[in-house]
């Protein structure tokens, strides 16, 4: 092994689904499947731990939407910024934040990525330029524009990638941010995770124009949409998006049409949609579809699937153990970090 390979630890590589380039081979097929399965299992485990009251507060799960995070985030470089929503465990995992520190965060332990201060809805990790975990719908838009402006002012070539649900386009912050991102020609990719329901409100009940990408015409932002249940389609669309933004230094808008299999949060009787509709969408399960396709192409085998399932189980198990063994921040620290404090040793 060469020195350079050694310094770039395989740990990082294992966590993220390979180098995204819009093409597929056996290794990438395994990586993409592994990441989607990790998200699925991590979310299912989180739901279980929620019922055991290990995780408290609000918990919003990503089941069904895995292809969006996994098809997009690996296209970002380490220096690029990511702004997420309150349904962001998948983005944090895909970005390379360890499953253990995410789980510990949801337990409220100080080993959590936000020191147990934020919980499920406020995952942050400065090291990976992961800026939330933004739990006020729409609140992440201006932050993303500001991060991009900051990069441009500092002469950096980074991209900022901002995720949000289709419900957020009803917020004023969406419109103010789109206008300014376009007006100031900032390198941003806006990814709309359109899962059809803003909590319990169907798109048609909240928007006068339901074709979201049409809204971007008025901001002169190039927009496209993609089947968000198909990880390879998302991967391809994101390849285009990144190419466009890196080349033209202008914002790009990608709507991923997807579906949330589980309830909005853990307190949701789902009276706003038919069971049949959910079952129909489950036929488009991104994991199932991807596996079938890869198997047909000879890029994934039953044996790969079993092996990946074991690997993922181990990661989730270790994450839970890590969280269980985590420690509580001492109550004396309650007032820390309200304001800046001198660096240790200063």
């Amino acid at each position: 092994m060469t020195a350079s390979k050694k310094t770039k630890t395989n740990k990082e590589k294992k966590r993220t689904p390979g180098k995204a380039n819009g093409s597929i081979d056996k290794e990438r097929a395994r990586d993409l499947y592994r990441m989607m399965l990790l998200i699925r299992n991590f979310e299912n485990k989180s739901a279980e731990l929620y019922t055991q009251e290990k995780i408290r507060g609000f918990l919003h799960l990503y089941n069904g939407e895995e292809a969006v995070a996994v098809g997009t985030i690996p296209h970002l470089s380490e220096e690029d910024n990511l702004v997420g929503t309150y349904r962001e465990h998948a983005h944090a995992l895909t970005r390379g934040i360890s499953a253990g520190s995410i789980m510990a965060e949801m337990y409220g332990k100080q080993e959590g990525c936000s020191r147990g201060r934020g919980g499920s809805m406020h995952l942050f990790d400065k090291k990976t330029n992961f800026y939330g975990g933004n739990a006020i719908v729409g609140g992440g838009f201006p932050l993303a524009v500001g991060l991009a402006l900051g990069d441009v002012m500092q002469g950096k070539d980074n991209i900022t990638c901002c995720f949000f649900g289709e419900g957020a386009v009803a917020e004023g912050e969406f419109h103010e941010s789109m206008n300014l991102a376009s007006l100031w020609k900032l390198p941003l990719i806006f990814i709309c995770e359109n899962n059809l329901y803003a909590m319990g409100t169907a798109l048609g009940r909240s928007e006068a124009v339901t074709d979201i990408s049409r809204k971007l015409d008025s901001y002169n932002i190039k927009a496209d949409w993609v089947d968000g249940m198909d990880v390879l389609a998302v991967d391809k669309a994101m390849t285009e998006a990144v190419k466009y933004v890196r080349e033209f230094r202008k914002p790009y808008f990608l709507e991923a049409r997807t579906y949330r299999f589980r309830a909005h949060s853990m307190f949701d009787a789902e009276l706003y949609r038919e069971k049949k509709e959910v079952e129909e969408w489950k036929k488009k399960d991104p994991l199932v579809l991807f596996y079938k396709r890869m198997k047909k192409q000879g890029l994934l085998t039953e044996k790969d699937k079993e092996k990946i399932a074991m690997e993922v189980d181990m990661i989730v198990k270790e994450a839970v153990e890590f969280a269980e063994q985590g420690t509580w921040e001492p109550v004396e620290d309650l007032t820390r970090f309200v304001y800046s404090e001198p660096e240790e040793g200063e």
């Binding site: 910024n81 020191r115 406020h122 400065k126 838009f141 402006l149 206008n179 970090f337 309200v338």
Partner: protein
């Protein structure tokens, strides 16, 4: 010392800081090409260019949040609001993000950002343009709040605010921008955040007043002196963190206190200061603290009603007479 208008003192503070640190930039409505709605930012566009002096559309929520994002990314934005009455539209970004992100991330993210502009009433502008918001922001842990009354304080404190690693709300007044005052010519003059100033010494009663109300209290003090009542006038300058030490020291001397505040009475600055005085120096008080505030009424347009609405020197004199049992 040099005599400067309030607006020029602020301009100097921004200019000096921008010349020393290229991470500082200024954004807001009309700050660049128009030279500032109140000419506070005059000349800065010419000097620093459009990359660092940025005109925004009328999108308070958007550009306040963009400032927060840029701050998280290592810059030091100064966000100007044409008035804090318009900043209400930006409160999600100020109160939820600027104030809380450091805490919520366990100290991972620093938030150096200044939100500045005029606060409170400015003549006959009626209800939507006349509110003092300093205590509202001071409610929120994570924010620092400054509301200055004189050019010298404005210059020294704004420079400190720009250098601070926490979000600072820095408040001015449309009616004070033309106010002249002596400003220190000391090189790199700063005033620490959180330090009050005794601006008039006196032994009979402590009067606490900040921002525009400082000048109302000062007029009252002059009048009272003619009647033989010596007011010790304290300008807290910083609302949060509040310098209770200076206030307590003064009350231990005078044993009486009046708080003058251009906010509505409920949960305002005066109610908080009143509580803190009772907590810290109750045993030294010879009379209950009296406050002079706005009534619990929105600002009227009519001149006659407005004059009745706004705290006046006469009301301060009445309050002083109450705590000194002269009436």
């Amino acid at each position: 010392m040099a005599e400067l208008e309030f607006r020029n003192a602020i301009n100097q503070a921004i200019d000096e800081e921008m010349s020393q640190d290229e991470n500082i930039f200024l954004m807001g409505e009309e700050v660049a090409e128009y030279n500032g709605a109140y000419k506070v930012t005059k000349g800065l566009l010419d000097k620093y260019g459009s990359k660092r002096v940025i005109d925004t559309p009328i999108s308070e929520l958007g550009f306040a949040g963009i400032g927060v994002g840029a701050s998280m990314n290592g810059l030091r934005p100064i966000v100007e609001f044409m008035t804090f009455n318009f900043a209400l539209l930006a409160t999600d970004q100020i109160m939820n993000n600027a104030a809380k992100i450091r805490y919520m991330t366990g100290g991972q993210i620093s938030m150096p950002i200044v939100f500045r502009g005029p606060n409170a009433s400015a003549g006959q502008l009626s209800a939507t343009h006349s509110v003092a918001y300093d205590a509202m922001y001071a409610q929120f842990p994570g924010l620092k709040v400054i509301y200055t009354s004189e050019p010298d304080d404005a210059k020294g404190l704004l420079k400190s605010a720009i250098r601070d690693d926490d979000p600072v709300l820095f408040m001015e007044s449309e009616q004070m921008y033309g106010l002249k005052g002596e400003v220190s010519e000391e090189e790199d003059y700063t005033i620490p955040i959180g330090k009050a100033k005794v601006k008039r010494e006196g032994s009979d009663v402590t009067v606490i007043a900040h921002g525009k109300m400082f000048h109302v209290a000062k007029q009252a003090a002059r009048q009272l002196a003619k009647d033989g009542v010596e007011v010790e006038l304290i300008d807290p300058r910083t609302v949060k963190p509040l310098d209770m030490e200076t206030i307590a020291k003064s009350i231990k001397k005078t044993n009486r206190c009046v708080v003058v505040d251009e906010q509505h009475p409920f949960s305002g600055f005066a109610s908080e200061v009143g509580y803190l005085i009772h907590r810290d120096v109750f045993d030294w008080l010879d009379a209950p603290v009296v406050r002079v505030t706005l009534p619990d009424v929105p600002a009227p347009y009519s001149k006659k009603l407005l004059d009745e609405w706004l705290p006046s020197p006469d009301q301060v004199i009445d309050a002083v007479n109450t705590v000194t049992y002269r009436k």
